[in-house]
Amino acid sequence: MVAMRVLRRLLDWLYTGCGILAAIFLVAILLLIVLQMSARWTGEIFPGAPEYAGYCMAAASFFAFASALNHGSHIRVSIVLNLLSRRAKRIVDGWCFLIGAALAWYFTYYAFQAIYWSWLFNDISQGQDASPIWIPQMAMGIGAGVFAIALTDNLLHVLFFGDNRIKTDIIEQSHGE
């Protein structure tokens, strides 16, 4: 059981760590835009700033998916779930995590395949930044992978313990609307 506990702690660190990384990318978006604005106002040019900000946006989103899942930020239609008995709810919840995990793993697989091809053929961004596209795409791959791990983690939890590990936070969820 010690191994399980270590794994549990490692996984929780992974989710939190990726969340913090996502937050750092969010700050990076702010800094890039401020730099670009001040460059424009002083007559300078900051080539590629929109592209860099876009990459940070993708990184901030993908790294945050797992953390958002565990905090119950992702929206779902829970009308049916709330009507069900405990037993049925467990089955439907398991189905949701199964579908979710399958889709996330599928996405991760193809994301890494795309990254591999970009790297192999040395794909360069079309924008002014002219950066090798596989570097920013890595954030998409890794973030999706961690999201897939989090979904699988929850799926197993539902199967073995009957409930998921999501702390539903209607207040936080509502801030998106």
Binding site: M57, A60, H71, I79, I99, L103, P136, G176
Partner: protein, 438 residues
Amino acid sequence: MDQVYLIVIFLFVLFLLLGSGVWVGLALLGVAFVGVELFTTRPTGDVMITNIWRASSSWTLTALPLFIWMGEILFRTRLSEDMFRGLSPWLARLPGGLVHTNIVGCTVFAAVSGSSAATLTTVGKMSIPELRKREYPETMVIGTLAGAATLGLMIPPSLTLIVYGVQVNQSITKLFMAGILPGLVLALMFMGYVAIMSQVSSKFKPAKDPVMTFTEKVKNSRFLIPVILLIIVVIGSMYLGFATATEAAAIGVIGSLILAASQRSLNWKSFSTSLMGAMRTSAMIALILAGAAFLSQSMGFTGLPRGLADLIAELDLTRFELLMVLLIFYIILGCFLDGISSVVLTMAVVEPMIVQAGIDIIWFGIFVVVVVEMAQITPPIGFNLFVLQGMTNHEMNFIAKAAFPMFLIMVVMVFLLILVPDIATILPETMWESAGGG
């Protein structure tokens, strides 16, 4: 006939995934996957990655996390207290008294926050206990708060409008400008309702506050000046073309950090919680948008949007009839889905329809937002109702009933918008084109 069969399967999967509670973004992704598999021979995985990468790494989208962050910072300041203290002396003498602080407070906070529920919490935190203390009728307090908070979606910055703009590829700034006047008109209509009810209703006998002198009033509201300045800078810079929506959002974040610091409510804890909250909320929307981007493409393959647009053309509906159909459609949809999900789910299909009918796409954004706002305050899933339930411990039914007059006022607003489309289109037409575009 085969095509029809496939479309039925496609729609069945959509309802199955969404209905069983798969997270909206992932459900859209799953449906899109099924669509591409059923209708084309393309390599689904590659189509998916190309599409989602393009959608997720877009520059336009960066306005989203920044505006969310701005709202989260201000949400954690003393703004709630300041708002009530600053507004109440000015509004106390109006017919309807301090109930107006709910509406004006929501209008002000809506101009710094893109979220309806965050607006509700910020304003309600202070106004609910204060209004109760003065014995205002509870239904009035709750109802106006639920209704006016939806202005958060309409008055810029608005998360729903950003999502709409990204989906239909329109300038976010223009959409923001389009939302200002309808938002203010709606606020005035709410205030008019309060004024009338205060005269008609026999239950409206609140305790009066002592009358203040002019200098006292100014002294009480001096804390509101920084917020007003922030609003003017953020919205003004967009209107005058100094900044794009994203840049205005960056200015807004820095402005609210300064504001929070000057109030001494900025410390490491409030900074990091606001940042982490913004990170997660923005990820929630980003996941939906990623799924929706792929779904739009997949929908295109199914031929559903084109087919429906043709059908609408054949039916020869007038614009008004089409809008009525859409109004009812969105109200029903709003019973099952939250606002952002309804917008992203339907726009791929609805956009060709409204283009076909010659409806202005910026104007339609405002129309959709008002309709989606109504869903915020109607059961079973109106977010504002849930939030209010958490804040007041009332039954859901009580809150929904209290909010119902506001729902009707919004219906009136929809018709007003159809009758006088200029309310929405005049500002985007007169604004200065921004330097950076978009």
